[in-house]
Symmetry: C2
Subunit: 297 residues, 2 copies
């Protein structure tokens, strides 16, 4: 990596520090800045350069990596005139997690100000940064991605470019977090119901991990059907799923445990059944939800 | 297996047929009966004995395995006087899925009528019956379980006795189905959001299976904390989970896609935060839900 092998990191929370520390250890001229001072001592010891201001930080490198709590926080740094001016002709890779809409809005702002822009998401925890376990997804102009990939690859792990649509990485992130947090809500609820039935979390865990283990092949199998509009419920119709859900709700509420999450899920299943699709599988819910979607974006 | 090696199967849906067919192939004198006739032709060819009535069926064996759609269906067969009388002194293993409360109610009825009773759940699909992949969980009197285990083991797979509390197998089942169906609701919703963002199910699937794969170790790790009352959110506080959930809801609803399941989950997270536990992990939701629980059963 030659003269462009300089990188600025804006945002020194746990993830930002992991990024900056990995860059500093990778023989890159790395400059760091954080809104709240005092987070960069270890990084400076590792060879990072402490910028006195955000504008000084972004002016120090052709590439600035931003990793803050959300796009409001990113905007409050990047959209100050001095910083925006300093970024002109340079590249921002925004690894802040937010919505696809915010990513698109930031791309439009960047284009208006002559700033090159890539959006990305880090799919793995801070401890994975710099290791083969890190997973990064990116979207935006492919040539710009190719140009900065050598520096980004200093972060280790797998980097995937998902497409030119700048919102694509955030959209993947949202969909995957949707699966993760919904599943976690199910687990948290199941542990409460189990507890009310005198079953400890550790007693349930070996069986719960068994449920977790069967999900990936089911996800794979259903994906093909969904893309082809095939929601066949052979052997497991949505009527049977709704019946199981009703048992869960009944058992939960009999113990005084809120079953709002499952009630919402059951409501979707009942709507599919009410529309005459009771022999379809539960995944028919995807089509029900998607039918209300606006066309395009 | 000696003279007690006779078994009756009540209920010849896909699962009941799989049970009866496996028993018939295992050198057991097996008798079958189904409310709706005509489902036993193949079984009779395999050597099963067709009973002319439910009372004749249960009288033919010391052990009757029941596998019907729910306990209402089971009751409508077992609680007819002629059948109840014929069952006196014999054993029923009820592999019908329903709630722990229904299992306990059936055990009370059985005790009142001098019928021995075990409750069980089949955790795997009908195709696994007779193979090492089948998973059965049982609860009720341990000695009764031991007595009939040799016949039950003819069904293949793993059999686990979870305890004497007759509702325990159903309680495990409910908790595990809670995890499964909530996760499936998350997946179905994620596919709808992905579709609205121009991402196909097959494009998302490899990443979705990655999410599925990280759940089992997370389940294991959190279980220990929950049992010890340790909900520490080190590195991932519930405030951060709630923020992700808000992004998911916003993105979903911006496309006109119902986000009721995630709204309910976010509501739980917000309640934990509102109670001053924002630095705890999301799993603190378990405690919030369990706090409203009635003590004991």
């Amino acid at each position: 990596m030659s003269e462009q092998s300089a990188v600025t990191v804006i945002g020194l929370g746990p993830m930002g520090r992991a990024l900056a520390s990995t860059f500093a250890g990778a023989d890159l001229r790395s400059t760091v800045w954080n809104r709240t001072p005092g987070r960069d001592h270890e990084l400076v010891e590792q060879g990072a350069i402490r910028a006195r201001s955000a504008e000084e930080a972004v002016a120090a490198s052709d590439l600035t990596v931003v990793c803050v709590v959300d796009y409001d926080a990113a905007d409050s740094v990047l959209r100050r005139d001095a910083v925006t001016d300093a970024l002109k002709g340079r590249t921002v890779v925004n690894l802040t997690a937010d919505t696809p809409g915010r990513a698109r809005g930031t791309a439009a702002w960047a284009a208006d100000h002559g700033i090159r822009y890539l959006d990305g998401v880090i799919m793995t925890p801070a401890v994975t940064i710099g290791t083969p376990d890190a997973v990064f997804i990116h979207s935006g102009p492919k040539d710009l991605y190719r140009k900065h990939l050598p520096v980004l690859e200093a972060l280790g792990g797998a980097h995937t470019h998902l497409g030119e649509d700048i919102g694509r990485a955030a959209a993947y992130d949202i969909a995957l977090l949707d699966i993760f947090w919904t599943a976690m809500a199910g687990y948290a609820h199941a542990l409460a119901v189990a507890k009310a039935e005198g079953i400890t979390a550790r007693e349930l865990a070996p069986f719960a991990t068994g449920i977790g283990a069967i999900l990936p092949p089911i996800f794979e199998e259903l994906a093909e059907g969904v893309d082809n509009g095939n929601f066949s419920g052979e052997g497991n119709p949505i009527t049977s799923a709704a019946s199981s859900m009703a048992h869960i709700i009944h058992t939960s509420e009999a113990h005084g445990i809120d079953a709002g999450v499952m009630r919402a899920a059951e409501g979707l299943a009942r709507r599919v059944i009410g529309m005459g699709n009771g022999t379809d599988g539960f995944i028919r819910v995807t089509e029900l939800l998607a039918e209300t979607t606006d066309v395009g974006r």
